[in-house]
Amino acid sequence: MSGGSSSLGNVSRISALIVDDDPVIRKLHSAMLKSLGIQFQLAVNGKEAVDLYRSGANIHIVFMDMEMPVMNGMEATKELRAMGVSSIIVGVSSRCSDEEREEFISAGLDHCYAKPLTVAKIKSLLEGIKY
């Protein structure tokens, strides 16, 4: 693992996946990752995210929306964990109730944040990713 003065290390080796059916959120979070020099892919629903992993994608961190058509974030997170995926999965949702948040976390998330994310929040999540 590379070290160096930056806690993010060699960020160009980090790969991310943004899973959201909202094109505005996808564009916003893409721009944030781009500003941090992170490579990323996009999926418009949970099924696309699962299919990416099945096709062998190597992803360090997933930003998973909760509500999406075809396969929502909870279902996708459960599926990925059942497949043995150990990537960091960050739930991103505008659902505010503790109950909804807890239900999403219990699906297998590492973290859950309100959308939209901020660059600072993403940066803190990326620190310490081992690759």
Partner: protein, 142 residues
């Protein structure tokens, strides 16, 4: 009109949008911070994307209120997505109107939903006009 004057006008217009509650200062500033040489028109692009996508969501919400029986669950789902998008660009008054609509939706109050959806549409349209003028000024300032 010299560039400095135009830049001052741009700043004035932006501060007016914040002070009058149309835009959330923190969120809109975050959009501007993502704009750079590689993405010189990012703010205008994401706002344009928002208006293109949100028109569809508003239409879908209107349709739910026309159908009988009214599917308030579906209305809330669409509203939820619309509110998420609106938050992303810092559309503060739009979001406030959405909060009101959500309350009427939860109460399954048809008349309240119809009335507040009109308010959402109104705030959505007013912000669009204000932002179009703002971006025009930004382009003129160079």
């Amino acid at each position: 009109m010299d560039r400095n004057h135009l830049l001052r006008q741009v700043a004035y217009m932006k501060n007016s949008l914040f002070d009058q509650g149309y835009l959330d200062r923190e969120q809109f500033t975050q959009l501007e911070e993502l704009q750079d040489d590689a993405n010189p028109n990012f703010v205008e692009e994401i706002v344009t994307l928002y208006y293109n996508d949100s028109a569809r969501l508003i239409q879908n919400m209107e349709q739910t209120l026309v159908n009988r029986p009214i599917d308030f669950v579906r209305l809330e789902e669409i509203l939820h997505q619309f509110k998420g998008s609106s938050s992303s660009i810092g559309a503060k008054k739009v979001n406030d109107a959405c909060t009101q609509l959500k309350e009427y939706c939860s109460a399954e109050n048809t008349e309240g939903c119809s009335r507040t959806l009109q308010l959402v549409k109104q705030e959505h349209a007013v912000l669009r006009t204000r932002l179009e003028t703002y971006f025009q000024m930004v382009r003129e300032a160079g």
